[in-house]
Amino acid sequence: MTTPAAILRTENLTMRFGGLTAVSNFTIDVPQGKIVGLIGPNGAGKTTVFNMVTGFYRPTEGRIFFDGQDITGLQPHMVCRSGISRTFQNIRLFSNETVLENVMIGCHVRRRSKWWMAPLGLPSFRAEEESIRRKSMDLLKSVGLERFAEEPSASLSYGAQRRLEIARALATDPKFLLLDEPAAGMNPQESQELMAFIRNIQKRFDLTILLIEHDMKVVMGVCEYIWVLDYGVKIAEGNPDAIQSDQKVIVAYLGEEYVKYAES
Protein backbone atom coordinates (compact mmCIF):
# COMPACT_ATOMS: atom_id res chain seq x y z
CA MET A 1 0.00 0.00 0.00
CA THR A 2 1.71 3.20 -1.09
CA THR A 3 -0.11 6.36 -2.13
CA PRO A 4 -1.73 8.35 -0.57
CA ALA A 5 -0.25 8.77 2.90
CA ALA A 6 -1.54 6.48 5.61
CA ILE A 7 -3.93 8.23 7.94
CA LEU A 8 -4.09 5.28 10.31
CA ARG A 9 -1.28 2.87 10.92
CA THR A 10 -1.20 -0.02 13.36
CA GLU A 11 1.95 -1.90 14.29
CA ASN A 12 1.78 -5.43 15.64
CA LEU A 13 -1.43 -4.72 17.47
CA THR A 14 -2.16 -7.53 19.91
CA MET A 15 -5.01 -7.95 22.37
CA ARG A 16 -4.98 -10.62 25.02
CA PHE A 17 -7.75 -11.21 27.54
CA GLY A 18 -6.24 -13.44 30.17
CA GLY A 19 -5.45 -16.62 28.27
CA LEU A 20 -7.35 -15.70 25.13
CA THR A 21 -5.59 -13.88 22.31
CA ALA A 22 -8.29 -12.00 20.44
CA VAL A 23 -6.04 -10.15 18.01
CA SER A 24 -2.47 -10.99 17.15
CA ASN A 25 0.17 -8.86 15.45
CA PHE A 26 -2.27 -6.84 13.44
CA THR A 27 -0.40 -4.44 11.17
CA ILE A 28 -2.21 -2.33 8.62
CA ASP A 29 -1.83 0.97 6.79
CA VAL A 30 -5.05 2.75 5.94
CA PRO A 31 -4.60 5.26 3.12
CA GLN A 32 -6.28 8.58 3.53
CA GLY A 33 -9.49 9.33 1.68
CA LYS A 34 -10.28 5.72 0.83
CA ILE A 35 -13.13 3.48 1.81
CA VAL A 36 -11.66 0.26 3.16
CA GLY A 37 -13.00 -2.87 4.79
CA LEU A 38 -12.17 -5.31 7.56
CA ILE A 39 -13.84 -8.68 7.16
CA GLY A 40 -13.62 -12.12 8.68
CA PRO A 41 -15.78 -14.80 10.25
CA ASN A 42 -17.66 -14.09 13.48
CA GLY A 43 -15.42 -13.81 16.49
CA ALA A 44 -12.38 -13.07 14.37
CA GLY A 45 -11.56 -10.01 16.42
CA LYS A 46 -12.73 -7.24 14.11
CA THR A 47 -14.65 -5.26 16.70
CA THR A 48 -11.73 -5.75 19.07
CA VAL A 49 -9.54 -3.95 16.55
CA PHE A 50 -12.08 -1.11 16.46
CA ASN A 51 -12.13 -1.01 20.25
CA MET A 52 -8.36 -0.74 20.39
CA VAL A 53 -8.22 2.00 17.77
CA THR A 54 -10.90 4.05 19.53
CA GLY A 55 -9.25 3.67 22.90
CA PHE A 56 -11.87 1.50 24.55
CA TYR A 57 -9.30 -1.26 25.02
CA ARG A 58 -5.66 -0.73 25.75
CA PRO A 59 -3.71 -3.02 23.40
CA THR A 60 -1.65 -5.63 25.16
CA GLU A 61 1.10 -5.03 22.62
CA GLY A 62 1.62 -2.86 19.59
CA ARG A 63 1.04 0.74 18.66
CA ILE A 64 -1.51 2.80 16.79
CA PHE A 65 -0.61 5.91 14.81
CA PHE A 66 -3.19 8.36 13.60
CA ASP A 67 -2.21 11.23 11.37
CA GLY A 68 1.36 10.74 12.48
CA GLN A 69 0.54 10.81 16.22
CA ASP A 70 0.84 7.84 18.54
CA ILE A 71 -2.62 7.39 19.97
CA THR A 72 -2.04 4.01 21.62
CA GLY A 73 -3.81 3.81 24.97
CA LEU A 74 -5.44 7.22 24.73
CA GLN A 75 -8.81 7.58 26.44
CA PRO A 76 -11.77 7.16 24.06
CA HIS A 77 -12.82 10.78 24.28
CA MET A 78 -9.30 11.92 23.43
CA VAL A 79 -9.23 9.58 20.45
CA CYS A 80 -12.47 11.13 19.26
CA ARG A 81 -11.01 14.56 19.77
CA SER A 82 -8.11 13.71 17.49
CA GLY A 83 -10.55 12.89 14.72
CA ILE A 84 -11.70 9.29 14.91
CA SER A 85 -15.39 8.47 15.30
CA ARG A 86 -17.35 5.26 15.15
CA THR A 87 -20.67 3.49 15.13
CA PHE A 88 -21.45 0.33 17.06
CA GLN A 89 -22.35 -3.22 16.17
CA ASN A 90 -25.40 -3.09 18.45
CA ILE A 91 -26.72 0.42 17.94
CA ARG A 92 -25.97 2.61 20.92
CA LEU A 93 -28.13 5.66 20.69
CA PHE A 94 -29.07 7.89 23.59
CA SER A 95 -32.50 6.37 23.87
CA ASN A 96 -34.09 8.97 26.12
CA GLU A 97 -33.06 11.87 23.92
CA THR A 98 -34.66 13.12 20.74
CA VAL A 99 -33.13 12.51 17.33
CA LEU A 100 -31.81 16.06 17.18
CA GLU A 101 -30.36 15.91 20.67
CA ASN A 102 -28.44 12.77 19.77
CA VAL A 103 -26.66 14.62 17.01
CA MET A 104 -26.14 17.74 19.12
CA ILE A 105 -24.40 15.60 21.71
CA GLY A 106 -21.99 14.58 18.98
CA CYS A 107 -21.22 18.27 18.40
CA HIS A 108 -20.09 18.72 21.98
CA VAL A 109 -16.52 17.61 21.43
CA ARG A 110 -15.79 20.60 19.20
CA ARG A 111 -17.34 23.33 21.31
CA ARG A 112 -15.39 26.13 22.87
CA SER A 113 -17.71 27.46 25.59
CA LYS A 114 -17.40 26.29 29.15
CA TRP A 115 -20.16 24.79 31.25
CA TRP A 116 -20.42 27.75 33.57
CA MET A 117 -21.36 29.97 30.69
CA ALA A 118 -24.67 28.15 30.51
CA PRO A 119 -26.22 29.48 33.72
CA LEU A 120 -24.78 32.92 32.98
CA GLY A 121 -26.42 32.95 29.58
CA LEU A 122 -23.55 34.78 27.88
CA PRO A 123 -24.29 35.82 24.29
CA SER A 124 -21.27 33.93 22.94
CA PHE A 125 -22.63 30.84 24.63
CA ARG A 126 -26.09 31.28 23.18
CA ALA A 127 -24.63 31.84 19.74
CA GLU A 128 -22.68 28.60 19.98
CA GLU A 129 -25.79 26.69 21.10
CA GLU A 130 -27.63 28.06 18.09
CA SER A 131 -24.88 27.04 15.69
CA ILE A 132 -24.78 23.55 17.22
CA ARG A 133 -28.49 23.27 16.62
CA ARG A 134 -28.13 24.40 13.01
CA LYS A 135 -25.21 22.10 12.32
CA SER A 136 -27.13 19.16 13.77
CA MET A 137 -30.20 19.90 11.68
CA ASP A 138 -27.99 20.04 8.58
CA LEU A 139 -26.53 16.67 9.44
CA LEU A 140 -30.00 15.26 9.93
CA LYS A 141 -30.94 16.60 6.52
CA SER A 142 -27.94 14.89 4.95
CA VAL A 143 -29.12 11.55 6.30
CA GLY A 144 -32.74 12.25 5.52
CA LEU A 145 -33.98 12.34 9.10
CA GLU A 146 -34.77 16.01 9.59
CA ARG A 147 -38.52 15.52 9.97
CA PHE A 148 -37.91 13.25 12.96
CA ALA A 149 -35.82 15.84 14.75
CA GLU A 150 -38.05 16.14 17.81
CA GLU A 151 -39.00 12.48 17.99
CA PRO A 152 -37.55 10.21 20.65
CA SER A 153 -34.64 8.41 19.06
CA ALA A 154 -35.94 5.05 20.21
CA SER A 155 -39.02 5.46 18.02
CA LEU A 156 -37.12 5.35 14.74
CA SER A 157 -37.04 2.31 12.51
CA TYR A 158 -33.92 0.15 12.63
CA GLY A 159 -32.46 1.51 9.40
CA ALA A 160 -33.19 5.07 10.48
CA GLN A 161 -31.49 4.45 13.81
CA ARG A 162 -28.37 3.30 11.99
CA ARG A 163 -28.41 6.46 9.90
CA LEU A 164 -28.85 8.52 13.05
CA GLU A 165 -25.86 6.85 14.63
CA ILE A 166 -23.81 7.76 11.60
CA ALA A 167 -25.08 11.34 11.71
CA ARG A 168 -24.06 11.53 15.35
CA ALA A 169 -20.61 10.21 14.54
CA LEU A 170 -20.30 12.78 11.76
CA ALA A 171 -21.21 15.54 14.21
CA THR A 172 -17.86 15.04 15.94
CA ASP A 173 -16.11 16.33 12.78
CA PRO A 174 -14.06 13.21 12.25
CA LYS A 175 -11.35 12.67 9.71
CA PHE A 176 -11.66 8.92 10.09
CA LEU A 177 -14.90 7.02 10.47
CA LEU A 178 -15.21 3.44 11.73
CA LEU A 179 -18.47 1.76 10.82
CA ASP A 180 -19.22 -1.48 12.66
CA GLU A 181 -21.56 -3.61 10.54
CA PRO A 182 -23.59 -0.71 9.14
CA ALA A 183 -25.58 -3.02 6.86
CA ALA A 184 -26.61 -5.47 9.58
CA GLY A 185 -30.30 -6.27 9.38
CA MET A 186 -30.82 -4.45 6.09
CA ASN A 187 -32.62 -5.84 3.06
CA PRO A 188 -30.95 -5.67 -0.38
CA GLN A 189 -32.67 -2.38 -1.23
CA GLU A 190 -31.48 -0.73 1.97
CA SER A 191 -27.97 -2.11 1.45
CA GLN A 192 -27.83 -0.48 -1.97
CA GLU A 193 -28.89 2.82 -0.47
CA LEU A 194 -26.31 2.39 2.25
CA MET A 195 -23.55 1.87 -0.28
CA ALA A 196 -24.49 5.06 -2.09
CA PHE A 197 -24.77 6.82 1.25
CA ILE A 198 -21.29 5.76 2.34
CA ARG A 199 -19.74 6.94 -0.94
CA ASN A 200 -21.65 10.17 -0.58
CA ILE A 201 -20.50 11.02 2.92
CA GLN A 202 -16.94 10.07 2.12
CA LYS A 203 -16.86 12.65 -0.63
CA ARG A 204 -18.90 15.27 1.15
CA PHE A 205 -17.04 15.23 4.45
CA ASP A 206 -13.64 14.27 3.07
CA LEU A 207 -13.41 11.16 5.22
CA THR A 208 -11.48 7.97 5.36
CA ILE A 209 -13.90 5.16 6.15
CA LEU A 210 -13.09 1.73 7.57
CA LEU A 211 -15.95 -0.70 7.73
CA ILE A 212 -16.54 -4.03 9.37
CA GLU A 213 -19.13 -5.87 7.39
CA HIS A 214 -20.50 -9.34 6.72
CA ASP A 215 -22.61 -8.40 3.72
CA MET A 216 -20.19 -9.21 0.89
CA LYS A 217 -22.13 -7.22 -1.70
CA VAL A 218 -21.62 -4.10 0.32
CA VAL A 219 -17.98 -4.85 1.06
CA MET A 220 -17.04 -5.71 -2.49
CA GLY A 221 -19.15 -2.90 -3.85
CA VAL A 222 -17.85 -0.03 -1.78
CA CYS A 223 -14.38 -0.93 -0.43
CA GLU A 224 -11.25 -0.16 -2.36
CA TYR A 225 -9.04 -2.30 -0.16
CA ILE A 226 -9.85 -5.11 2.25
CA TRP A 227 -8.13 -6.83 5.17
CA VAL A 228 -9.23 -10.26 6.27
CA LEU A 229 -9.04 -11.36 9.89
CA ASP A 230 -9.43 -14.92 11.13
CA TYR A 231 -8.92 -15.93 14.78
CA GLY A 232 -7.27 -12.59 15.37
CA VAL A 233 -4.70 -12.99 12.63
CA LYS A 234 -4.57 -11.09 9.35
CA ILE A 235 -4.70 -13.80 6.71
CA ALA A 236 -5.06 -11.75 3.57
CA GLU A 237 -5.28 -8.23 2.20
CA GLY A 238 -5.86 -6.70 -1.17
CA ASN A 239 -8.45 -5.20 -3.47
CA PRO A 240 -11.88 -6.88 -3.74
CA ASP A 241 -10.98 -9.07 -6.71
CA ALA A 242 -7.87 -10.41 -5.07
CA ILE A 243 -9.72 -11.14 -1.83
CA GLN A 244 -12.60 -12.91 -3.54
CA SER A 245 -10.29 -15.41 -5.16
CA ASP A 246 -7.95 -15.81 -2.22
CA GLN A 247 -7.91 -19.44 -1.13
CA LYS A 248 -7.16 -18.67 2.50
CA VAL A 249 -10.15 -16.35 2.74
CA ILE A 250 -12.48 -18.91 1.26
CA VAL A 251 -11.25 -21.54 3.68
CA ALA A 252 -11.68 -19.19 6.61
CA TYR A 253 -15.28 -18.42 5.77
CA LEU A 254 -16.47 -21.74 4.48
CA GLY A 255 -14.16 -24.11 6.24
CA GLU A 256 -11.69 -26.61 4.83
CA GLU A 257 -14.23 -29.38 4.61
CA TYR A 258 -16.45 -27.41 2.27
CA VAL A 259 -13.55 -26.33 0.11
CA LYS A 260 -12.41 -29.93 -0.24
CA TYR A 261 -15.99 -30.91 -1.02
CA ALA A 262 -16.34 -28.11 -3.57
CA GLU A 263 -13.13 -29.09 -5.26
CA SER A 264 -13.94 -32.76 -5.45
Partner: protein, 252 residues
Protein backbone atom coordinates in the same frame (compact mmCIF):
# COMPACT_ATOMS: atom_id res chain seq x y z
CA UNK B 1 -34.01 -8.35 63.25
CA UNK B 2 -37.15 -10.21 62.44
CA UNK B 3 -35.49 -13.46 63.34
CA UNK B 4 -34.56 -12.17 66.74
CA UNK B 5 -38.02 -10.75 67.36
CA UNK B 6 -39.75 -13.91 66.27
CA UNK B 7 -37.71 -15.93 68.74
CA UNK B 8 -38.56 -13.44 71.44
CA UNK B 9 -42.25 -13.66 70.75
CA UNK B 10 -42.10 -17.38 70.23
CA UNK B 11 -40.95 -17.72 73.77
CA UNK B 12 -42.96 -14.92 75.31
CA UNK B 13 -46.27 -15.53 73.63
CA UNK B 14 -46.28 -19.20 72.82
CA UNK B 15 -44.03 -20.47 75.53
CA UNK B 16 -42.02 -22.47 73.08
CA UNK B 17 -38.82 -24.09 74.19
CA UNK B 18 -35.87 -22.11 72.97
CA UNK B 19 -34.74 -24.51 70.26
CA UNK B 20 -38.21 -24.76 68.77
CA UNK B 21 -38.59 -20.98 68.87
CA UNK B 22 -35.35 -20.59 66.95
CA UNK B 23 -36.32 -23.00 64.23
CA UNK B 24 -39.79 -21.51 64.01
CA UNK B 25 -38.38 -18.01 63.77
CA UNK B 26 -36.02 -18.99 60.98
CA UNK B 27 -38.84 -20.61 59.03
CA UNK B 28 -41.14 -17.63 59.47
CA UNK B 29 -38.38 -15.21 58.45
CA UNK B 30 -37.63 -17.33 55.45
CA UNK B 31 -41.26 -17.16 54.48
CA UNK B 32 -41.23 -13.39 54.89
CA UNK B 33 -38.27 -13.20 52.57
CA UNK B 34 -40.09 -15.18 49.91
CA UNK B 35 -43.12 -12.98 50.34
CA UNK B 36 -41.09 -9.81 49.95
CA UNK B 37 -39.49 -11.14 46.79
CA UNK B 38 -42.83 -12.08 45.32
CA UNK B 39 -44.43 -8.71 46.07
CA UNK B 40 -41.67 -6.16 45.81
CA UNK B 41 -38.91 -7.58 43.61
CA UNK B 42 -40.48 -9.97 41.14
CA UNK B 43 -42.48 -7.27 39.30
CA UNK B 44 -39.23 -5.39 38.81
CA UNK B 45 -37.24 -8.21 37.22
CA UNK B 46 -37.16 -6.54 33.84
CA UNK B 47 -36.83 -3.00 35.19
CA UNK B 48 -33.49 -1.22 35.51
CA UNK B 49 -31.54 -2.55 38.42
CA UNK B 50 -31.74 0.63 40.41
CA UNK B 51 -35.50 0.26 40.66
CA UNK B 52 -35.10 -3.01 42.48
CA UNK B 53 -32.53 -1.38 44.73
CA UNK B 54 -34.88 1.46 45.60
CA UNK B 55 -37.65 -1.04 46.21
CA UNK B 56 -35.35 -2.97 48.52
CA UNK B 57 -34.52 0.19 50.45
CA UNK B 58 -38.23 0.91 50.70
CA UNK B 59 -38.95 -2.61 51.94
CA UNK B 60 -36.17 -2.37 54.48
CA UNK B 61 -37.58 0.82 55.95
CA UNK B 62 -41.09 -0.52 55.74
CA UNK B 63 -40.27 -3.62 57.74
CA UNK B 64 -38.28 -1.74 60.33
CA UNK B 65 -40.92 0.91 60.83
CA UNK B 66 -43.64 -1.71 60.89
CA UNK B 67 -41.68 -3.44 63.61
CA UNK B 68 -41.72 -0.20 65.60
CA UNK B 69 -45.47 -0.05 65.26
CA UNK B 70 -46.05 -3.69 66.09
CA UNK B 71 -43.30 -4.46 68.57
CA UNK B 72 -42.72 -1.02 69.98
CA UNK B 73 -39.50 0.92 69.67
CA UNK B 74 -38.18 0.32 73.16
CA UNK B 75 -35.29 -2.08 73.28
CA UNK B 76 -36.21 -5.36 74.92
CA UNK B 77 -33.91 -7.76 76.69
CA UNK B 78 -33.97 -11.31 75.44
CA UNK B 79 -33.80 -14.46 77.42
CA UNK B 80 -30.84 -16.64 76.61
CA UNK B 81 -30.73 -20.34 77.35
CA UNK B 82 -28.55 -21.05 80.31
CA UNK B 83 -26.30 -23.57 78.67
CA UNK B 84 -25.07 -20.94 76.26
CA UNK B 85 -24.19 -18.28 78.75
CA UNK B 86 -23.03 -20.13 81.78
CA UNK B 87 -19.34 -19.90 81.86
CA UNK B 88 -17.50 -23.20 81.84
CA UNK B 89 -14.40 -23.48 83.91
CA UNK B 90 -11.57 -25.58 82.62
CA UNK B 91 -8.85 -25.22 85.15
CA UNK B 92 -8.00 -21.56 85.20
CA UNK B 93 -9.62 -20.81 81.86
CA UNK B 94 -13.14 -19.51 81.64
CA UNK B 95 -14.95 -20.26 78.45
CA UNK B 96 -18.17 -18.78 77.33
CA UNK B 97 -20.00 -21.54 75.43
CA UNK B 98 -21.53 -18.93 73.18
CA UNK B 99 -18.11 -17.95 71.92
CA UNK B 100 -17.57 -21.50 70.71
CA UNK B 101 -21.04 -22.24 69.47
CA UNK B 102 -21.35 -19.19 67.22
CA UNK B 103 -18.27 -19.92 65.09
CA UNK B 104 -19.22 -23.58 64.85
CA UNK B 105 -22.76 -22.79 63.80
CA UNK B 106 -21.44 -20.25 61.31
CA UNK B 107 -19.09 -22.81 59.85
CA UNK B 108 -21.88 -25.36 59.55
CA UNK B 109 -24.19 -22.86 57.90
CA UNK B 110 -21.51 -21.79 55.44
CA UNK B 111 -20.66 -25.37 54.58
CA UNK B 112 -24.36 -26.07 54.14
CA UNK B 113 -24.71 -23.07 51.88
CA UNK B 114 -21.68 -24.02 49.82
CA UNK B 115 -23.07 -27.50 49.44
CA UNK B 116 -26.41 -26.16 48.24
CA UNK B 117 -24.90 -23.70 45.81
CA UNK B 118 -22.24 -25.93 44.33
CA UNK B 119 -23.62 -29.42 44.64
CA UNK B 120 -27.34 -29.26 44.04
CA UNK B 121 -29.55 -28.52 41.05
CA UNK B 122 -31.16 -25.40 42.54
CA UNK B 123 -27.70 -24.12 43.35
CA UNK B 124 -26.58 -24.69 39.80
CA UNK B 125 -29.66 -22.82 38.60
CA UNK B 126 -28.80 -19.95 40.95
CA UNK B 127 -25.34 -19.64 39.51
CA UNK B 128 -26.68 -19.85 35.98
CA UNK B 129 -29.15 -17.05 36.67
CA UNK B 130 -26.41 -14.82 37.97
CA UNK B 131 -24.52 -15.25 34.71
CA UNK B 132 -27.33 -14.94 32.19
CA UNK B 133 -30.94 -14.87 33.26
CA UNK B 134 -32.50 -15.01 29.80
CA UNK B 135 -30.65 -18.08 28.66
CA UNK B 136 -31.37 -19.81 31.93
CA UNK B 137 -35.07 -19.21 31.32
CA UNK B 138 -34.73 -20.64 27.87
CA UNK B 139 -33.15 -23.74 29.34
CA UNK B 140 -36.43 -24.49 31.04
CA UNK B 141 -35.51 -23.33 34.51
CA UNK B 142 -38.30 -21.73 36.49
CA UNK B 143 -36.35 -18.60 37.25
CA UNK B 144 -38.94 -17.15 39.61
CA UNK B 145 -39.03 -20.28 41.76
CA UNK B 146 -35.26 -20.37 42.03
CA UNK B 147 -35.07 -16.70 42.93
CA UNK B 148 -37.78 -17.21 45.53
CA UNK B 149 -35.79 -20.13 46.91
CA UNK B 150 -32.68 -17.96 47.02
CA UNK B 151 -34.47 -15.27 49.00
CA UNK B 152 -35.92 -17.83 51.33
CA UNK B 153 -32.46 -19.24 51.93
CA UNK B 154 -30.88 -15.84 52.33
CA UNK B 155 -33.56 -14.67 54.74
CA UNK B 156 -33.20 -17.83 56.79
CA UNK B 157 -29.48 -17.20 57.11
CA UNK B 158 -30.12 -13.57 57.96
CA UNK B 159 -32.57 -14.64 60.66
CA UNK B 160 -30.04 -17.08 62.05
CA UNK B 161 -27.39 -14.41 62.21
CA UNK B 162 -29.86 -12.02 63.81
CA UNK B 163 -30.61 -14.57 66.48
CA UNK B 164 -26.93 -15.13 67.13
CA UNK B 165 -26.42 -11.39 67.30
CA UNK B 166 -29.18 -11.14 69.87
CA UNK B 167 -27.49 -13.84 71.90
CA UNK B 168 -24.27 -11.89 71.88
CA UNK B 169 -25.85 -8.46 72.48
CA UNK B 170 -28.99 -9.44 74.32
CA UNK B 171 -31.10 -6.40 73.55
CA UNK B 172 -33.36 -6.21 70.57
CA UNK B 173 -34.89 -3.14 68.96
CA UNK B 174 -36.48 -2.69 65.56
CA UNK B 175 -33.51 -0.95 63.94
CA UNK B 176 -30.95 -3.39 65.26
CA UNK B 177 -30.36 -4.85 61.84
CA UNK B 178 -29.61 -1.63 59.98
CA UNK B 179 -25.94 -1.21 60.73
CA UNK B 180 -25.11 -4.96 60.67
CA UNK B 181 -26.98 -5.22 57.38
CA UNK B 182 -24.90 -2.45 55.89
CA UNK B 183 -21.73 -4.05 57.21
CA UNK B 184 -22.86 -7.35 55.73
CA UNK B 185 -23.08 -5.69 52.36
CA UNK B 186 -19.63 -4.21 52.85
CA UNK B 187 -18.30 -7.63 53.84
CA UNK B 188 -19.79 -9.14 50.70
CA UNK B 189 -18.19 -6.47 48.53
CA UNK B 190 -14.91 -6.90 50.41
CA UNK B 191 -14.91 -10.60 49.77
CA UNK B 192 -16.12 -10.26 46.23
CA UNK B 193 -19.68 -10.25 45.01
CA UNK B 194 -20.44 -13.71 43.69
CA UNK B 195 -18.14 -15.61 45.99
CA UNK B 196 -19.54 -17.22 49.12
CA UNK B 197 -16.14 -18.03 50.52
CA UNK B 198 -15.24 -14.43 49.83
CA UNK B 199 -18.24 -13.18 51.74
CA UNK B 200 -17.34 -15.28 54.77
CA UNK B 201 -13.74 -14.18 54.69
CA UNK B 202 -14.88 -10.62 54.13
CA UNK B 203 -17.15 -10.77 57.13
CA UNK B 204 -14.48 -12.16 59.40
CA UNK B 205 -11.90 -9.73 58.14
CA UNK B 206 -14.23 -6.82 58.66
CA UNK B 207 -15.10 -7.86 62.19
CA UNK B 208 -11.45 -8.40 63.01
CA UNK B 209 -10.34 -5.07 61.61
CA UNK B 210 -13.04 -3.24 63.50
CA UNK B 211 -12.09 -4.75 66.83
CA UNK B 212 -8.37 -4.44 66.24
CA UNK B 213 -8.61 -0.85 65.11
CA UNK B 214 -10.42 0.10 68.28
CA UNK B 215 -8.01 -1.96 70.36
CA UNK B 216 -4.94 -0.33 68.90
CA UNK B 217 -6.33 3.15 68.63
CA UNK B 218 -8.66 3.52 71.59
CA UNK B 219 -8.98 7.25 71.08
CA UNK B 220 -10.58 6.48 67.74
CA UNK B 221 -13.28 4.30 69.26
CA UNK B 222 -15.90 6.91 68.43
CA UNK B 223 -15.10 6.35 64.79
CA UNK B 224 -15.70 2.63 65.02
CA UNK B 225 -18.65 2.52 62.69
CA UNK B 226 -16.77 4.55 60.15
CA UNK B 227 -14.01 1.92 59.83
CA UNK B 228 -16.20 -0.43 57.90
CA UNK B 229 -17.04 2.31 55.42
CA UNK B 230 -13.46 3.42 55.06
CA UNK B 231 -12.51 -0.19 54.38
CA UNK B 232 -15.29 -0.41 51.82
CA UNK B 233 -14.09 2.62 49.96
CA UNK B 234 -10.49 1.45 50.03
CA UNK B 235 -11.51 -1.91 48.58
CA UNK B 236 -13.71 -0.35 45.93
CA UNK B 237 -10.82 1.79 44.82
CA UNK B 238 -8.07 -0.79 44.89
CA UNK B 239 -9.86 -3.93 43.91
CA UNK B 240 -13.51 -3.35 43.09
CA UNK B 241 -14.10 -7.01 42.45
CA UNK B 242 -13.18 -7.79 46.02
CA UNK B 243 -10.68 -10.27 47.35
CA UNK B 244 -12.09 -13.26 45.54
CA UNK B 245 -14.62 -11.81 43.18
CA UNK B 246 -15.15 -12.36 39.48
CA UNK B 247 -14.24 -9.74 36.94
CA UNK B 248 -16.99 -8.48 34.69
CA UNK B 249 -16.10 -7.00 31.32
CA UNK B 250 -18.21 -4.67 29.26
CA UNK B 251 -18.93 -6.02 25.81
CA UNK B 252 -19.50 -3.57 23.02
Amino acid sequence: MLGAYFVFFGIALFNLPWGVAVIGAILVSSFCGILVDRVAYKPLRSAPRISALISAIGVSFFIQNLAIVIFGGIPRPVARPAWLVNVIRVGDIRILPLAIVVPIVTLLLVLGLLWIVYRTKPGLAMRAISKDIETTRLMGVSVNKIIAFTFGLGSALAAASGIMWALRYPQIQPFMGLVPGLKAFIAAVLGGIGSIQGAVIGGMLLGLIEIMAVAFFPHLSGYRDAFAFVLLIVILLLKPTGLMGEKLEDKI
